[in-house]
Amino acid sequence: MTVQITFFGSLLAIVAALIGALGRLSPIKPLRWLAIVYVEVFRGSSLLVQLFWLYFVLPMPPFNIAMSAFNVAVIGLGLNIGAYGAEVLRGAIRSVHEGQYEACQALNMTAGQRLRRVILPQALLAAIPPGTNLLIELLKNTSLVSLITLSDLAFRARQLDQATLMTLEIFGLALVMYFVLAQIINFSMRTLERRLARGRMRGGMS
């Protein structure tokens, strides 16, 4: 369950981050404002508050949108980490050298082509290390969804504790499991980065 939420949550987060970052850099003002509001609201208020909002407030009269706890978890975590990711990605896009933009203009590329073929591939690569930190953050934050009654690792640990009273073993093991999962993410992201960076760093980029 923890792994599932992390997986779907990070997918949503990546999409949200991409949209958020592009929105903030967009030349259209309302779009930019919208993106700023999204990023600031989700970064500024606490994740747990957001989860509770989605879980307790949305099903009530004015909205009447009842979602399963799992959906709430994925959407809440995804949007929250997405907001942080948008800032990371914005920084990464900004860090792409200006000469690259000029080169695109010289090649007469459209804005879409420029983004897709030149800017994003470089920006995404630069965003991987901070992105890894965010993914681990996401993994750790999945423990919070146990508080909206989802039976993830943290929730199971609590349950087992109440059933068996072997407190030390259970919580100790839960900690170790999170640690191992975090190391797996760390390792695979580093491998991914090396793969993607192959033949690219030599060109002297960043």
Binding site: G44, S45, F52, V57, M60, P61, A154, F171, A182
Partner: protein, 219 residues
């Protein structure tokens, strides 16, 4: 039913503000412990002695990659079995302080690494003891540039305090939930809590940005 019942919101405001004091108190207490403890962790990690630096590195990495919630559970549910009885509030403050001490330790490390090597050599040349060297030469230089980063961690700590509601600390989030279940209206209390965090963290972020600007001017 109204979309947002202002009267109800006004009515519950005092109770939320009352609980918000606890949230702020936890943040201040926790952060004070975290910045002191973090410094010791960072200095320990940099120590030349492996028996000190390795356990420190392990501890920092372990705490940083496991969730705060489980750590707090650990303090609150496991320790009593061994005779350490902590109240929920104590366990919460210690847990959050320990968690963030490991983050601030990494900030300190960056700051310490940024002090030029020559300063260390100068300290050796003057035959200063390590304690004096840290206190009089290294730390004053290491601390200034990292103040904004420390401030940012204070903001994230503030936003992590609702986690403590899981071990029955009645901070603002728990209070909002209680109000919600009493009146069966969650919209106003939880939205107000969200706004509370938003205002406070945006305000703090503004303050940190000013600090950052001043640091740059001073250089």
């Amino acid at each position: 039913m109204n979309f947002f019942d202002w009267e109800f919101a006004w009515e519950i405001l005092p109770r939320l503000l009352d609980a918000s004091l606890k949230t702020i108190g936890i943040t201040i207490a926790g952060f004070s412990i975290a910045i002191v403890l973090g410094l010791f962790l960072a200095v320990g990690r940099r120590s030349r002695h492996r028996w000190l630096s390795w356990p420190m590195t392990g501890l920092i990495e372990f705490i940083r990659s496991t969730p705060l919630l489980i750590q707090v559970y650990f303090l609150f549910f496991v320790l009593p079995n061994y005779g350490f009885n902590l109240t929920a509030l104590q366990a919460g403050i210690i847990g959050i302080a320990l968690h963030y001490a490991c983050y601030t330790a990494e900030v300190y490390r960056a700051g310490l690494d940024a002090v030029p090597r020559a300063q260390w050599e100068a300290v050796t040349a003057l035959n200063m003891k390590p304690l004096n060297a840290y206190r009089k030469v290294i730390l004053p230089q290491a601390l200034r540039p990292i103040l904004p980063a420390l401030g940012n961690y204070m903001i994230s700590m503030l936003k992590d305090t609702p986690v403590l509601s899981a071990i029955t600390v009645v901070e603002i989030m728990q209070r909002a939930k209680n109000i919600g279940s009493e009146h069966f209206r969650y919209l106003e209390p939880i939205t107000m809590v969200g706004l509370f965090f938003l205002i406070l963290s945006l305000g703090l972020a503004w303050f940190v940005r000013r600090l950052e600007n001043r640091m740059e001017l001073a250089r």
